[in-house]
Amino acid sequence: MRRLRLPGLALALPAWVWLAVFFIAPVAVVFWYSFGYKPGLFGTHATDRLSFDRYLEVLTPTFFDTFVATMNIALTGTALCFLIGAPMAYWMAVKAPPSWRGLLLALVLVPFWTNFLVRTIGWQVILSPEGWLSQAAQTLGLPAFDILYTRGAVLLGVVYNYLPLMILPLYVAFDRVGEPLREASRDLGAGRFRTLWRVTLPLARPGIVVGVLLVYIPLMGDYITATVLGGAKGNMVGQLVAAQFQTAQNWALGSAMAITLIVIIVLSAAAVGAALWLVSWPLRRSYRVRLDSGVTQ
């Protein structure tokens, strides 16, 4: 048994080293700094005296308001990405001719060929009041287009920047469910909708969870999309962290904010998961079949 497991561990070693060096270590450093303080005008942090004071400083009304605004954009953006990405991924994995799939996947990835900031600024140019979209609208006799620096523009940018992160895992998930199971379901009397509901979606759930987290987590930390397209309406909590590290040069407070954010993101994701689980409980219960009478109902 031991001899069999060793190669697996050895194979995973580079991944572990990578994770340790580039993820665990930096987070550990940030965690450590968050208990320190800013030692003076020109110092960024000191850890010779440790306390929870920075965490108390984090929880101000400004942080709370900004966090709520961020959460609002992140949740709405994730929901939009799901609502747009899931049918798209389903179509690609199930309905589209198999010979198209490579091309479709490539097209989904096209935006990634350009720098994140550049393509966001591209939208700024398109959406501006004198941009070509607005001019085209006016040529058609429609009113001038003025959605730049609104919440709508932010959500548009979010969908544009994050949609591939939703589509790819969903595509893989739907693809893995496979035609035979869908056929079996239809053979057993379930129509398309019930097949989707009881077979495809439950089996694609890991992919759905991955897609949602892949969009939600980076979105909570992203402030570039929101700032570029939302202007003053795109205030995001990531900016508060950046402001502490950069402008205020207070790495201790910035670290405490970053850690608080990580904790809240994890908690909020877990809360959403738990809520969905609870809400769907009666439904799952109704599908459950236990033969030994008296165990259920």
Binding site: E183, D187, L188, V289
Partner: protein, 390 residues
């Protein structure tokens, strides 16, 4: 679909001149087939012969380009799979991995909004029927292949369909399990009286279970008959080769029309040759179990040929010999072990077979590609090729 149909047509499946193309390829070609209510019918043929496509059209997963399909006397063209009174046991079982065994079996009943108590009752019965009652709360991944097979069967049968479609359901099982399941399937079918349409490329499966066998070739039915007829009186060299082992002799029909003269032997059937005209090329076939071997020359009244034993194999209740007749021809003989002569490799022997065991087929345009299934005789018996008993 109760009410509208009469007792006698429930479970009947009719295909009328059904054609199905995939691009330029014709999968099913003007096929007509009537499956009787309550019968066990096998669609037998090599891969690509159209048998699975035929099954999938009955299930509703494929739509014919031409022709009509009737189930229980009513056309089902345009009826989606979930509204057809048929259920399918899939090749790879297609059990839902996120549901327990009981939930898998209950799935079809839930779609019909069966009351809970009845649902539990019927699921229990179905699992009892396949002896899987004790596994009700397991997930499919925790089951062996044979157990999954039984669950798939229960999942389909619990819906009490008029027709059960089985798409190579035993293909993934090992041989012993396969033979057990063959028996069980046949038993179940006769108990339930449901029409079974069974797709297989395995002649043994078809022969051991079927009421009738439709041997398919290139999207058409080559022969439709009961197992014994298919085995003993194949209509073509193709069927003869596909069902059971054969010794083939290519030659020409003698001038009197009474025999096929091949380089290594002359083969004379009982009543003269009607299928092929005198002087024309023909292919004669003799099954290995009809070939007797002896040291002494047999009477000239039977077909005979002399040769050298080049291989001996023991197949349990049978013994198999390979006899070299001439440079290009080896003859396979199988005898029940207790009655077989003690022969060793290198011995000169006489092979003989009775006229009634000789089949003669045309060897021309109609049967040019029988090479598609004509395994050369081999002494190393592979397990699938043990003799079958009609």
């Amino acid at each position: 679909m109760p009410g509208a149909t009469t007792e006698t047509t429930t479970g009947a499946v009719e295909l009328h001149r059904v054609t199905k193309h995939y691009g330029a390829q014709t999968a099913v070609d003007d096929l007509t087939l009537e499956i009787r209510p309550g019968e066990f019918l096998s669609l037998l043929g090599p891969s690509g012969c159209g048998k699975t496509t035929t099954l999938r059209m009955i299930a509703g997963f494929e739509h014919p380009d031409a022709g009509d399909i009737l189930i229980s006397g009513r056309s089902v063209l345009g009826t989606p799979p979930y509204r057809r009174d048929v259920n399918t046991v899939f090749q790879a079982y297609a059990l839902f991995p996120h549901m327990t065994v009981a939930e898998n079996v209950a799935y079809g009943l839930q779609q019909r909004r069966t009351p809970r108590a009845e649902l539990r009752e019927r699921v229990s019965q179905a699992l009892d029927m396949v002896q899987m009652r004790g596994f009700a709360d397991r997930k499919p991944t925790q089951l062996s292949g044979g157990q999954q097979q039984r669950v798939a069967l229960a999942r389909a049968l619990v819906n009490r369909p008029a027709v059960l479609l089985l798409d190579e359901p035993l293909g993934a099982l090992d041989r012993q399990l396969r033979e057990e399941m063959q028996l069980e399937l046949k038993l179940l079918q006769s108990q339930l009286g449901i029409t079974f349409v069974f797709v297989t490329h395995d002649q043994d499966e078809a022969l051991s279970m079927s009421d009738r066998i439709a041997v398919m070739r290139d999207g058409r039915i080559e022969q439709l008959a009961d197992a014994q007829t298919v085995y003993q009186r194949p209509v073509s060299a193709y069927v003869a080769a596909f069902v059971g082992k054969q010794n083939f002799f290519d030659g020409t029909v003698t001038a009197d029309g009474g025999a096929v003269e091949a380089p290594s032997a002359v083969l004379r059937p009982t009543d003269g040759i009607t299928a092929v005209a005198a002087g024309q090329p023909a292919r004669a076939a003799v099954r290995p179990e009809f070939v007797e071997l002896g040291i002494d020359p047999p009477s000239a009244a039977v077909n005979r040929a002399e040769g050298e034993v080049i291989g001996v194999a023991h197949l349990g209740e049978m013994r198999q010999f390979l006899v070299q007749l001439d440079e290009s021809t080896a003859l396979l003989s199988r005898r029940p072990a207790p009655h077989s002569p003690d022969l060793t490799v290198g011995q000169r022997v006489w092979a003989s077979w009775r006229p009634e065991s000789v089949q003669v087929f045309a060897r021309g345009t109609a049967t040019t590609d029988t090479s598609g299934y004509m395994p050369p005789p081999t002494i190393h018996s592979d397990e699938q090729d043990h003799p079958a008993h009609p």
